[in-house]
């Protein structure tokens, strides 16, 4: 029963009991006692009845009623204080333990449930952060280890005998650049998580971007003899940040070219599908194993461990892609047949096309910038 009802009930009971007591006392005082007196033959003294009555009411009845009322209400409200004390006992280590409910199913329980929900969500977030930090430090350790090894080797070599005395320093610079890029990407993802990255809201001719990226794909894929084919390129306009969308496409074609086979294929297609712009990028290649597939867009996840050692990358590309797609209100899906091919399908909401839009798709429709969360 709710607190409200309980308190109301207690209030009613207290009032009822008081009235009963008053009535009983009055009955005794004004009816029973005089009758007893009469029978005993004593004289009437009406004034004293009222005085006695008043004394009893003021010195006994009212204090007793008030006292018991106070005590009852204190008992009803006590669970709130207990709950507050329990809140104080919650810390990072026991976030996952839910607080117990009372047996009453009342407002206090509702508060407890809400609090338990809150701590569960916080716990999940902290878990994510912990895992991410672990992975990040692991990834950063690799280039640091390489740099350390280079320095140690160079120190061991006697100066003057090394054929390329500055080679190791250049190697260090390369590793530092790689580290700096990882840190930059992590910073971007963290800011995106916190909703601090500003994205533009303009009309973007998505087909133009896709065509450009297919040309870039051709160039990126050329060294390994991979063929690029733009199967379809419907004239579709989306609303969003042109540079970030270009980054999305570049990341995807970069992956398609990197994780491919010599003489393989990359096929791009842009089509309207159920009111969305659907872009699919399929590439031949080693693919992604079913165990890794569900997590492939998470940070630092790359194919199967050990399989991609020769290929440059930190596993952050798809995480960036997912952020960009979701920030534009779209969806991204990866499917793969290990050893055969991988397909990434991106769907973005189409910008509503009006007559005035048709002529100049790049015209900013009032530059409204949005803060979008991942």
């Amino acid at each position: 029963m709710t607190l409200r009802r309980r308190l109301g009930l207690q209030y009613a009971v207290v009032v009822a009991v008081s009235l009963l007591l008053l009535a009983g006392l009055a009955h005794h005082e004004f009816i029973v006692e005089p009758r007893m007196r009469q029978r005993a033959g004593l004289a009437e003294s009406s004034g004293s009845h009222w005085r006695e009555y008043a004394e009893l009411v003021f010195h006994a009845l009212i204090p007793a009623v008030l006292g018991s009322g106070w005590w009852l209400m204190g008992r009803t409200v006590a669970p709130i204080t207990t709950l507050a004390r329990q809140f104080e006992g919650v810390h990072l280590g026991n976030l996952r333990t839910p607080l117990p409910r009372t047996a009453q199913t009342d407002e206090v329980d509702r508060l407890t449930d809400a609090f338990n929900g809150l701590t569960a969500r916080l716990d999940a977030s902290f878990q994510q952060i912990r895992e991410f930090l672990l992975q990040a430090s692991h990834e950063l350790k690799t280039p640091l280890t390489v740099m350390r090894a280079q320095l140690e080797t160079a120190l061991r070599d006697a100066p003057g005998t090394a054929t390329d005395p500055c080679g190791w320093m250049r190697g260090q610079l390369d590793e530092l650049e790689r580290l700096a890029r990882i840190v930059d990407t992590l910073t971007l993802l963290s800011k995106a998580d916190a909703g601090l990255v500003k994205l533009e809201q303009r009309l973007v001719p998505f087909d133009v971007l896709v065509r450009e990226s297919s040309e870039e794909a051709a160039l990126l894929a050329e060294p390994s003899g991979v063929q690029v084919d733009l199967a379809a390129c419907a004239r579709l306009t989306v609303r969003g940040d042109r540079d970030r969308l270009r980054q999305l496409l570049l990341n995807l074609v970069d992956n398609a070219a990197k994780y491919n086979l010599p003489g393989g294929h990359i096929t791009l297609a842009l089509r309207p599908v159920s009111g969305m712009a659907e872009l699919s990028i399929a590439n031949t290649g080693p693919g992604i194993s079913p165990e890794v597939l569900p997590r492939v867009m998470d940070r630092f996840v790359r194919g199967v461990d050990g399989q991609n050692r020769g290929i440059e990358g930190a596993g952050l590309g798809l995480a960036i892609c997912r952020w960009i797609v979701q920030a534009h209100g779209g969806t991204i899906r990866v499917t793969s047949e290990p050893g055969v091919s991988t397909t990434v399908t991106v769907r973005l909401p189409l910008a509503p096309v009006t007559q005035s839009d048709a002529g100049s798709p790049d015209e900013p429709n009032g530059v409204a910038s949005m803060y979008l969360t991942a």
Binding site: T185, K198, L219, D243, Q247
Partner: protein
Amino acid sequence: MHVLIVEDDARTAGFIRQAFKEQHIDADWLRDGDEALAAVLAASFEAVVLDIMLPGRDGLSVVRQLRARGNHTPVLLLSARGEVAERVEGLEAGADDYLGKPFALAELVARVRALGRRGGDLKQSVVRLADLTLDTAARTARRGAHRIELTCREYRLLEYLMRAAGRVCTRMMILEQVWDYQFDPGSNLVDVYVRKLRQKVDAPFATKLLHSVRGEGYVMKASEQPL
């Protein structure tokens, strides 16, 4: 080349001045925004490297004041934040370029040099380097008598590098000017395109013109040694 550095952190300023000195760029140093404003208006600098966070007047305010008073000294803004939005704000305030911290000294030097040349660069329609000729009106490239087939993007990259001939162009500068990216998209796109350009422009000919500067970027210049 004579430039002004306005930076209140002595260590950072020290590194910058050292880097400039090695590149034969004369650099004065001030720590305060108001002093900087007075100095730029009084003397004539080829470029100003201006930190945004300054005691006294902040960097953006200095730029706005300079432009309001008709001073067109090229300004490169330095900022600890380096966000795209701040970059746009800086450029709109009248700055000519923007670098977020931490930056590579080589990047700063390359950009300051580019700023210094802006004033005197007339858009010639024909650009030449050794036997490489670019007809910017027709968008064609030739070496000697041979016509070089280039895609649109390859041509734009070549024109940019040619107009900057003798000066190092960093990857980020190329991404900004040729690809119009406001941030680093995290790809080796530029390297791939430069490689392609080399295949077409340098490989078939004796004199190599397109050079890599390790840790910095690319530069076009006539060099005596054939590869």
